[in-house]
């Protein structure tokens, strides 16, 4: 606590409060609900969300404040010096029990068929402090399910009218396409006909909804929340580097959810990042090492394949054609190879239209549709769009993952037709390399390995393994490590963290960083401020 106090600028006055018997010191103006979080007390709430303006409509966060005649809503009451707050006093519990009973009056109690079940705050708090049995005997209100457009489905019967979705669209997206229609017990969340939730960031209303009223059509009836395994990861949709949770069921990615990080994406994730995950599960993967012998592909074991690749690379200049979705670790090891043998590295990044989330500073679906173009730049790789390197017939072309998809620019076709030996390290064998590569080494995609990406602001962020590797595929940094080792550099490292440590020791930008210090929130590279210019905003 003392360190927290020291970090705060001197002009901020600190206020001492006691919540559930635990005393804390928070800046003046902090709400009780936020102050409670600092002492590990979660005050039940529905309409409150740290990313949205305070509405105070659900009455769920009522707490007992000493010397207050009435219970106070913790989301809309700021702390005062010496205040003593009781969250679980009998009076407060009784009030919240009453609120829950009202909220459940028109609720269909259809948890067994509801997608939100298992991650529903209405379910959780009712279990925690609601009545065990309903006293309501009258018929319940019924409204039909409505398609809100985009990826969103509205089930009005389950809605508790917390208005988080309305405030998100109004104050964060700044496109108020949702409203509270009618009033009193007839109220529901409405929209105007022909004006759907089509904004690039509208899908976040599904995450914001504390109950099962707003559902993802993509995830509808796909899995129960408690069957999912969750791993911290980074979205590869663009260079923003939004923190995500990869949710898998039986080793298949079924959903991506935003993971809160106030330094990057706050609580949000755009539609593109959210829904573009099916490629992760693709079955047509390269899952065995292959070597071409007399023009025919032969499936071989890893030792033979690595020997063949090392033999092809030994003593040659190497041109690395890298995907900007390769991790810093992989790109670093390839760069080591270039440093030893001569050559150069380029990456090819796809571009798309920018889509900012207007209500949040510096959060946007970026034009560069890859996770680690900045990392590649920091490690000395050049953008293919700025010109292709000259590849001699005597060189080796090392292709790192999926850079040869779609229509190839002339710069690339030139590189491919140079006559150089091609060694491919990637998750799939692209058609263009089918008859061209000499060795194909299968690697895992970013959900099957661990590593780091550097986002456009130079923030280095870790991603963890979420699924198992297909077949014999190995993490790309591991494959590169083996290759570097075989080429005699003695620089092979067999833990991702060790590769990163070596990277941090070699490159000034990454100095002082390690997996331990990055943790799951990431840290900016040491010269991030100057490096901003490395990630220009590309007008498309």
């Amino acid at each position: 606590m003392s360190t927290a106090t020291n970090d705060v600028k001197p002009e901020v006055k600190m206020v001492s409060v006691t919540i559930e018997g635990r005393t804390t010191s928070v800046p003046e103006g902090t709400t009780i609900i936020e102050a409670a979080k600092t002492v590990g007390v979660l005050i039940p709430h529905y309409c409150y969300h740290p990313g949205l303006p305070v509405a105070g409509v659900c009455r769920m966060c009522l707490v007992d404040v000493e010397k207050f005649p009435k219970l106070a809503p913790a989301c809309a009451t700021t702390v005062m010096e010496g205040q003593v707050v009781s969250v679980h006093s009998e009076k407060a519990r009784e009030a919240r029990k009453g609120v829950l009973e009202f909220l459940l009056i028109n609720h269909p109690l259809d948890c067994p068929v509801c997608d939100q079940s298992g991650e529903c705050e209405l379910q959780d708090y009712t279990f925690q402090e609601g009545r065990a049995e309903s006293r309501y005997e009258e018929p319940k209100r019924f409204n039909p399910v409505e398609d809100f457009g985009g990826d969103v489905l509205y089930v009005p019967n389950r809605c508790i009218l917390c208005t988080r979705c309305v405030r998100f669209m109004g104050d964060v997206v700044e496109e108020p396409v949702l409203n509270v229609s009618e009033r009193g017990d007839r109220a529901f969340i409405g929209k105007a006909e022909g004006h759907d939730l089509t904004d690039a960031w509208a899908g976040n209303v599904v995450d914001l909804c504390p109950v099962g009223a707003l559902l993802s059509k993509d995830f509808l009836n796909k899995a129960r929340a408690w069957e999912l395994d969750r791993s911290a990861s980074i979205c590869t949709g663009c260079s923003q580097g939004c923190n995500v949770t990869v949710e898998t069921r039986d080793n298949t990615v079924v959903r991506l959810k935003p993971r809160s990080n106030t330094a990057v994406n706050h609580f949000y994730l755009c539609e593109q990042g959210r829904l573009d995950y099916r490629w992760i599960n693709r079955r047509d993967r390269l899952d065995q090492p292959k070597v071409r012998v007399d023009g025919e592909w032969r499936t071989v074991d890893w030792e033979d394949a690595l020997d063949a690749a090392a033999a092809a690379l030994a003593g040659k200049r190497v041109t690395v054609l890298a995907s900007p979705n390769c991790s810093n670790e992989t790109l670093f090891l390839a760069e080591r190879m270039i440093a030893r043998q001569g050559g150069s590295g380029v990456f090819r990044v796809m571009l798309g239209a920018e889509a900012p989330l207007r209500g949040v500073e510096d959060l946007s679906l970026r034009a560069e549709r890859a996770a680690n173009a900045t990392g590649a730049r920091l490690l000395g790789y050049a953008d293919l769009a700025q010109g292709a390197p000259i590849v001699n017939a005597n060189d080796v072309l090392l292709v790192l993952d999926d850079v040869l998809e779609g229509e190839l620019p002339t710069a690339l076709t030139g590189m491919m037709s140079s006559g150089a030996i091609v060694v491919h390290v990637g998750t799939t064998l692209p058609a263009v390399l089918e008859g061209r590569a000499q060795v194909a080494l299968p690697t895992t995609n970013h959900t099957e390995e661990e590593g780091t990406f550097t986002n456009l602001r130079g923030r280095v962020q870790r991603f963890l393994q979420a699924r198992t590797a297909p077949g014999l595929a190995r993490p790309s940094w591991y494959v590169m490590s083996d290759l570097v080792e075989r080429l005699g550099a003695g620089e092979g490292r067999y833990m991702a963290s060790a590769v990163f440590d070596q990277l941090a020791a070699t490159h000034a930008s990454f100095a002082g960083l390690s997996y331990a210090t990055l943790a799951l929130r990431g840290l900016p590279v040491i010269d991030a401020a100057e490096r901003d210019v490395l990630a220009p905003t590309v007008a498309v």
Binding site: N143, P144, E146, P156, G170, E175, P176, V177, L178, N179, V180, S181, E182, R183, R186, F188, G190, K191, A192, E193, G194, H195
Partner: protein
């Protein structure tokens, strides 16, 4: 989204006149009138209620295209306008009869026989049911809460006309006077 009939609520009529082209309200003199209203408020958004009244005065109800028009003249989204429109029960979201009859049925009037006045209106206008427009499109009858004339039970409002001390016997004549 629709609801069944409940007190004070209109019942969506079976026929809907959505196919007729919508004629904008805020043109010519009415546009000037709106501009005068706008000059009284700090923001355009603040003039939403008067703008909706102007639409209702013109067409008798506020249709979807009217919502779009109001939204565009006040720089709002249609959803926002709809939210406000649906909050207030005095704005009609469906067509109503030429004469909109509101009968007070709150406690004092109820004691003095307002229920029978309502029944008489439903019978004589041909509406048959609360919130339903008569087949000749002349009347719509609804119950309302206190009209503030408890001393003159039962008060009835037909459009902007206020009629006090209505008894079931007077209803036939009142209906006849409103063609």
């Amino acid at each position: 989204m629709t609801y069944g009939p409940s007190s004070g609520q209109l019942v969506r009529p079976p026929e809907h006149h959505h196919d007729e082209p919508y004629v904008p309200v805020f043109t010519g003199a009415r546009r000037d009138e709106l501009d005068t209203i706008l000059s009284r408020y700090p923001t355009k958004m603040a003039a939403l209620l008067p703008a909706l009244w102007m639409v209702q005065d013109t067409y008798g109800w506020v249709s979807e295209p009217a919502v779009e028009e109001v939204a565009s003249v006040l720089d709002l989204t249609p959803a926002y306008v709809k939210g406000v429109l649906s909050f207030y029960t005095m704005y009609h979201q469906h067509p109503v009869g030429k004469h909109f009859v509101q009968v007070c049925t709150t406690t004092p009037c109820n004691v003095c026989g307002a229920e029978d006045v309502v029944k008489a209106f439903l019978e004589h206008t041909g509406c048959g049911e609360l919130g339903v427009t008569s087949p000749d499109n002349r009347f719509t009858v609804i119950e309302v809460e206190c009209l503030g004339a408890c001393g003159f039970a039962t008060p009835v409002m037909i459009n902007n006309e206020f009629i006090e001390s209505v008894t079931p016997e007077r209803v036939a004549r009142i209906v006849a006077e409103h063609d």
